[in-house]
Amino acid sequence: MTNSVAVAGVGLHPFGRFDRTVTQMGVSAVRAALEDAGNPSFQSVFCATVYSGVAAGHKVLGALGLTGTPIVNVEAGCASGGAALMLATNAVRSGQCDTALVLGIEKMPRGIIRSSFFEPWREQSGLAATPAYFALRAMRLMRDSGITKEDLAQIVVKNRAEGVNNEIAMYRTATTVEAVLESRLVCEPLHLHMLCSPNEGAAAIVVQRSDLARRDAPKIASAQLRSHLPGSILGEATPLSGVADENIPAASTIAAHAAFEEAGYGPDDLDLIECQDTDAAREILAYEELGLCARGDSAQLVRNGDTARGGRWPVNLSGGLLSKGEPLGASALAQIIELSNQIDGRAGIRQIENAQIGLAHTVGRGANAAVVIITK
């Protein structure tokens, strides 16, 4: 017998650049989430972060006088928030605890981020250029799926149009295909506005047994994390050395299959999606990896507007990372909060009709990917 698990409360600190510490941002998100859930007691804390240093979650809970429970700090690259949510969901589902607190906090360094992932010789040789890896992935998508630079720009236009209406987003102005293509070329084919900005922010979610939460609280139908399969690193975000990976499923695909199987749904059942738009090509690749279309067929989804507001699968109604920016630990949780708010009818000006089943997807360095399905 396993427990049904609910999103009992959510809280966000805006994403952007702030003159506040990562602890202060975490405190504000946690306070908001606990208040939203009716200030329940909790028995476990999972804190997602990549760049906040030792015992970052302990500092947030310490500042609130809420220590004493187990606090686990979780790092899984861009998927850190999804990983923390998976751990909390499993803890509540298995009966290990009734209520768990998940938080994600980040204050990203400025500029191209130095990552301990790369050895010194790769840095010296110029092989540690993260946007260049995104560019290679985009090049591959263009070759395999017939995606054009205009398609990439169209994703930015779509997401930034939604970001206008999201008060926590860093960029709140709409843009055009022309403006995106006129922004500085970073690494062919990616222009500056096609890349999300690493930034700062915090998010928190109270995960609770459904029978203890308010009756209409959204449910966590599945929260899955998967890493890449041997040999397939080249196909993910961090190609270093590898073999032909055309027949090796990506981490995102494996995580999505596991989530669909546990939830008992498939891509056709989804009403909305939040997916990893670290760069515009990454979002389009996710369409294929999540099974919205066959491999190589994503261009039609973009050109038909299938993933825009009013389309078959609205993707990134929150504005995506292209509008919000990406504070690694917090970004996946903000996706889940968008789904929960839409399903809960609390998305304000961004609200869509009949939102019942949503999927959140993050993928990043490792490689690893998280897929979470939220339902009414």
Partner: protein, 133 residues
């Protein structure tokens, strides 16, 4: 000026400027890896042989980097991409062209001077360049 390899064991540099990348071939599953590794990333075996990798390949993916990434010793812009060797191994590499190279273009391995380090030595790494050797 003294030349220094960017990392020991990545490649062999002969006095006549001839360069060979070193890789591992797994004795259990034949998986190829670059750089040399103690364990096979496909099957986990610790039985491997260090081999010379092929010097010829074809362009699999390429882009051009316009901003110097952290720690980089060379100049921008520079070519960056993936070369596919005849054995099927795909390697991330610098590319000597400062523009996007077409898929399938024949590439050859070259020694590439990156820049001067803090000790006044010329740091040498590997790169691929259009053409045949």
């Amino acid at each position: 000026m003294t030349a220094r390899m960017v990392h020991d064991g990545l490649f062999r540099l002969d006095s006549d400027g001839d360069i060979r990348l070193l890789g591992s071939r797994c004795e259990e599953c034949s998986h190829l890896q670059f750089p040399v590794a103690e364990t096979c990333s496909m099957c986990g075996s610790e039985r491997s042989t260090t081999i010379d990798l092929e010097r010829q390949g074809t362009l699999w993916l390429s882009t051009v980097v316009t901003n110097a990434p952290p720690g980089y010793l060379g100049e921008v812009p520079y070519g960056f991409g993936v070369v596919e060797l005849p054995s099927g191994l795909r390697i991330i590499t610098l590319i000597t062209e400062k523009e996007v190279v077409e898929f399938g273009t024949p590439l050859r391995l070259v020694a590439h001077d990156l820049g001067i380090n803090d000790d006044g030595e010329m740091v040498v790494t590997y790169a691929f360049s259009p053409g045949s050797s």
